[in-house]
Symmetry: C2
Subunit: 202 residues, 2 copies
Amino acid sequence: MTMQQMEGAARPAGRPRSEKAEKAIIEAALDILGEGSGVSELSIEAIAARAGVGKTTIYRRWTNKEDLVVDALASLKPPIPPLKGASVRDDLVAYLQVVRSESIHVRTRCIMNIAMSQSDRHPRVAERFHEIAIKPRQAAVRAVLERGMANGELRADLDVEMAMAILSGTMMWRTKWSSDDDLPADLAERIVDEALRGFRPG
Amino acid sequence: MTMQQMEGAARPAGRPRSEKAEKAIIEAALDILGEGSGVSELSIEAIAARAGVGKTTIYRRWTNKEDLVVDALASLKPPIPPLKGASVRDDLVAYLQVVRSESIHVRTRCIMNIAMSQSDRHPRVAERFHEIAIKPRQAAVRAVLERGMANGELRADLDVEMAMAILSGTMMWRTKWSSDDDLPADLAERIVDEALRGFRPG
DNA sequence: TCGATACGCAACGGTCGCGTTTCATAATAT
DNA sequence: ATATTATGAAACGCGACCGTTGCGTATCGA
């Protein structure tokens, strides 16, 4: 018995799959989605062409488009900002500023659109996106709010879910229905200040 | 000179276009969009088939799909609720309840999705939708808020645009990321009450 | 070296929707 | 009646992708 055979994932014979190709495929898919295509307009041929890869190489790894998109979304590491500022206000402003700055980049914008608009048609994709990109952020915001409730910066009876919806929803609404350039620079601060007015004790 | 010739739109000779066909086409288009298709997946052939109409009849009236969709969206009469209640709170609750109830119907939901997600790819469509479905509602809400500011129910220095974004954005966020059934029945009231906490004077 | 597997590439037959045309028929003005 | 335009149906050639296959080459383990 050789060392190799003892390894957990008994390596099959023959040429191993190219990791580079795999990354190129996922990157190409995200790229095309980032240009505004919906999931159904995303064609395997286009992905293969852009990735510089044969269609075979794609079909060998994923049996359908949805699985590919799910993996692609999963590869998006959401850059959660630290949020360990001095005050609840600072943390929330920092968070919403990240959201705002992302909404300006076309790629982020389109991928967000996909996740939001195709939840009926492609529930698995939307669910995965929610898991990857939304939940961790919501958890971070929730931590900030709960910290504030604990130390008295916020009302003790604050409805945390509602507060999170107010913060994220307001920013989303503004970024949706505005052209990029008429988003005021201090939008994050203004949203937080307006929201906090109702979140504070008293 | 006959009466007919004196009419504003000098009726051309020959068989007139069928109004019924026109309505059937638009209805079919909305129907398919309401099932979750994006604009680009919406095929003329499918519209014709569902409307019980020849493709000729469609191509004779619209030169491209976008124009058809624009007209279809324009045919959506937004049922703006009256909003003449006793208080700002009552009006806002009534408004958000309409929004909430619409978000449950698949058709409304999908058409909303289209307008929101395809603004990059089909700006004319999104713009038209905004004109038809968003602006009048926002105007109604703005009127309620301004009335409240005038009679002292709301702070005199309230940022009206921000307040509208908070109300609509929060409801949208909740309806987006929730399955229909875990939307609490009193969601509208809870959003309004939470928001008003910061909108009131003092 | 040899067997096995993956690679990029090109071609296959098949489906779908495109936008156009033709056809027989229907509806309207003169 | 006759001229004119619209209608639904069917068929056209065209191009985009589909998912599969065969090809020669590259990369691995034994």
